[in-house]
Amino acid sequence: MPAFETLLSPVILFFILGVLAAAARSDLSVPEPLAKSLSLYLMAAIGLKGGIQVAQAGFSPQLLQVSAVGIALSFGLPLIAFALLRALAGLDRLNAGAVAAHYGSVSIVTFVTTADVLTRNGMAPAGYMVAVMALMETPAIVTGLLLARGSGLVAPGQRSKLVREVFLNGSVVLLLGAFTIGLVLGPDRYQPIAPVFTAGFTGLLCLFLLDMGLVAMRRLRESRALTWRLAALGIVLPLVNGAIGLSLAMLLGLDAGTGAALVMLAASASYIAVPAAVRLAMPDADPGIYLSMSLAVSFPFNILIGIPLITQLAPLVLG
């Protein structure tokens, strides 16, 4: 299937509709509670699905290997991002550290869209990748903070809040919780809830990506802090991180779907969990920089270019 075909999936077309509507300054908008509800739903659904697949396939040593690699990526990728942001865009330590934390972490929606597209192309990633994603969400925050501040610079009162934000973040808890429920349920007991969590999945993902398109484009239009260098890095970083992810996937001998998912986890940048934690730990870093880069540049790039690209590439170099 040509790369172009991937763009014709309903999910991506709704994303494009959102982008165009916001670019034309239409007043189309998705109510905030719907967006929040859809994101809860999507996390519960992929958590469950992952758990059930692992319940069927059984635990494999690969699960542990890939988890370890994922955690290492989340800790490590911010180092590269930090260096590039300092050298090429001239960001100060604080803002470079804040942005780096985002690129070490992952975008859940990018992962979900990737999995959806891969599955329709006959390359469903392994179920445990959901757990790997959850594990990759927060280590990057630690690295980003250390880079920005050196050690020990979080105010004492804030520290416990930050630890909670990092380890008990709602999305981490929901993903791992639903994953565990899926493991416990197994395929049979999952049947009664399959109509909601399986049959409804792609359709609801369309509505969510419509919103993401609107939000990303509005952000792009309104961002003042986004220089050309930063925008360029918003494309370079996913490519660099994705390449690193791909090399590791080859080293680990992952199948095409699972490897492609790892690549997109590495390539994607957080715009939910990390911004909230960064706001808490580095309130003086500029959200105009880190949100615009991850949400308005890297996210659309990954959806519109990254996913079609890896869908073409993965079967050639992996598996």
Partner: protein, 103 residues
Amino acid sequence: MIATYTRKRIDILVDAPLCEWVVEQAAAAGILHHSVLPVQSGLGRGGPWRDDDGYASVAKRMFVALTNADRVDALLDRLAPDIERCGLVIAIQDVQVVRGERF
């Protein structure tokens, strides 16, 4: 006529993730009771934001407390070093309250 007393109302516009911290600072300054109002959109030095932009912007809250002048001063002293860094927008007014002993 029911008696009224002059007290202070302090309103603090604050980023949602930092709201809990303002609440703690207020409590430490003796302002235990408060309310938090939602804010829908705004424009500041950091550009425009709206709460239905989800992840695209940092939502704000409005912390409101009725209290007395001493506690307001105590709270301002606690917040002072961070007001600029955290972008707090603070307004203080005189108000008349009933049940003055509560505030």
